[in-house]
């Protein structure tokens, strides 16, 4: 080393900033090394941001009847309308609504339902999984058998069932208002099992570790041990499942809406738009179906790829 030239002043000894620590972490490195993850993250980010800022990006508000002109109906993408001469980037649907704007607003509904459903499933599943794993005995048997039974039913069927019950219970004048929340409940309830199973398994491992015994020794309550000690240690697989579930929830929402039991036409999601669009597919107005479908595909695919990458990055056995 002594024959090397002097490289200048001594390196700084100040503690690295938070940003620097995050940039240097294993997970950030693995992210930078994976082009798929970077592209998926960029696409997801663009889609989420454009959904959040839809009112500023969209050219018209498709839900404001005053801004619609029926004469603009069925304008092909990028071609001036034969009556009004207006040009729409992605065309218009039968009522003259700009497809680009409806996609942005539809994505808002899709993402909102997806996020809320996953949040609901996560809270329910993580809570029940922790309880089953830590308490054991009959509590565990009951929770896990219910989970097993639910796994034997297709989740779309469970969601349809919940949706059907809710329709029967809720008076007709409130249906459109609560439809979104029923959708969230239906998708969330059909999705909690995965969280519960993974968290239960991880809890069984953690609860026998000595730090849990040390906490029991000083007389901490079961609640404190479950939520303060065990929960932080079982969260990394939960994060992975939540990401992949988000993609699945968005698809489930689109499926339900496509079947006509999801988001109402007054608040169309991507699935509702696809359902509306398929009426016109065979009469040549392909763009009404095509662009919402491509957006849904891009959204679900990029979130899913992000989840896949996260699973590999957080799995120590693959390192």
């Amino acid at each position: 080393m002594s024959d090397l030239p002097d490289t200048g002043p001594a390196p700084e000894t100040a503690p690295p900033s938070r940003w620097k620590t995050a940039w240097d972490s294993d997970i950030a490195y693995s992210f930078r090394q994976s082009p798929v993850a970077v592209i998926a993250a960029i696409v997801t980010l663009i889609l989420i941001l454009s959904a959040v800022f839809a009112p500023w990006i969209a050219t018209t508000n498709p839900f404001d009847p005053a801004s619609l002109n029926l004469m603009n109906g069925f304008s092909p993408p990028g071609v001036p309308n034969q009556f009004t001469g207006e040009t729409f980037l992605l065309g218009t649907d039968d009522q003259g609504r700009d497809v680009f704007s409806t996609i942005l607003y539809g994505m808002r509904i899709s993402l909102f339902v997806g996020f809320m459903a996953v949040l609901f499933a996560m809270v329910l599943g993580v809570g029940l999984g922790l309880l089953a794993g830590y308490v054991g005995g009959w509590t565990e048997t009951i929770i896990m058998r219910v989970a097993d039974i639910q796994l034997t039913l297709p989740s779309i069927l469970v969601a349809l069932l919940i949706f059907g019950i809710a329709r029967g219970v809720i008076p007709i004048e409130y249906r459109d208002q609560v439809a979104i929340w029923v959708l969230i409940l239906a998708i969330g309830l059909s999705d909690w099992v995965q969280f519960a199973r993974v968290v239960r398994g991880a809890t069984l491992v953690e609860k026998n570790k000595e730090y849990v015994q040390a906490a029991r020794l000083i007389g901490r309550s079961s609640w404190a041990i479950m939520f303060k000690h065990i929960l932080p240690n079982v969260l990394s697989p939960v994060l992975v499942i939540a990401t992949i579930s988000l993609a699945l929830a968005i698809i489930a929402e689109a499926t339900l809406s496509f079947l006509g039991v999801g988001a109402p036409p007054t608040q169309p999601s991507l699935g509702t738009l696809i359902r509306i669009g398929q009426d016109f597919l065979f009469s040549g107005e392909w763009w009404i179906l095509f662009f919402p479908a491509v957006t849904l595909l891009a959204l679900a695919l990029s979130v899913n790829l992000l989840g896949d990458w996260l699973r590999d990055a957080l799995n120590p056995r693959l390192r």
């Binding site: 570790k209 000595e210 015994q213 040390a214 906490a215 029991r216 020794l217 000083i218 007389g219 932080p232």
Partner: protein
Amino acid sequence: MNLVRVSRLSRVFDVSKPWLNRVIERLPKRLLTAVSDVSFDIPERTTYALVGESGSGKSTIGKMVVGLLRPSDGNVEIEGVDLATESDETTIERIRSDIQMIFQDPFASLNPRWRVGDIITEPVAARGGDTEGLAARLLEQVGLSAEDASKYPHQFSGGQRQRICVARALASEPKLIVCDEPTSALDVSVQAQVLNLMSDLKDEHGLTYLFISHDLTVVRHMADTIGVLYLGRLLEEAPPDALFTEPAHPYSAMLIDAAPRLDAFGREVVPPEGEIPDPIDPPTGCAFHPRCPIATDICKQERPPLEAFGAGRVACHHAGQVRLKGAA
């Protein structure tokens, strides 16, 4: 005065197959006796060591003493209070704050998502005590620095983590610390540091240790009294000097012969003969008789009681009739 009084302690584990399998396959219940009729006292400010092979019930006794496991039979009294039967909450809280434990695996005994400062002060914070400056003070006492309080456990080595465990054990100012093989996961050089730290703290804080180990050399260095366990039974109890020079029980002699010694370098180590028997189906009479060089018929029929012998107590029909093979 005796801080800990263990009397006729037993613990049986049910290791049967699940209920349904048992009914279908017509299997009997399988019960494992991990601890059988063990009694000993630990006077205040002394170190009592339990030694034995793996499976001898050392850790089970430790867990019953601190109240993590309930005894199947017999009881443990700490300052005259039996935690398993006591119903008064304030008494339970008072006794609990007098007991702490140091675990074997320093990598599993610290919550990886907690900061060291929070880990150390938890025994006090959980009871609503004042934790101002506590972590820094304790860290310095165990030879770490006050700044380490804001770090996470993975930033420390095994020896440093065990020091953190010691600091946590000291936080609630306990009287009794149960150490379950505290050094067996550490390098030999680090072992000595941790053991010396524990000795110093014992004098400083007036602590009482129940020291569980399989390492005779470690135990000899630390203990005031040594209890030798075999298959959940206490076979001999004696001060270290008496035990190491004149073991009264043939099993103790076998263990001491098997231990490597620095002062007799080049001496052939005598490996112990046989294996520890199946605790589900223990031998009749004295549990050690199948491996014992001096066993007679009575050993197969009658379980010898633990009786006073020489400087300690021993459970053997032929106590004191064995010689160390490697004795110089």
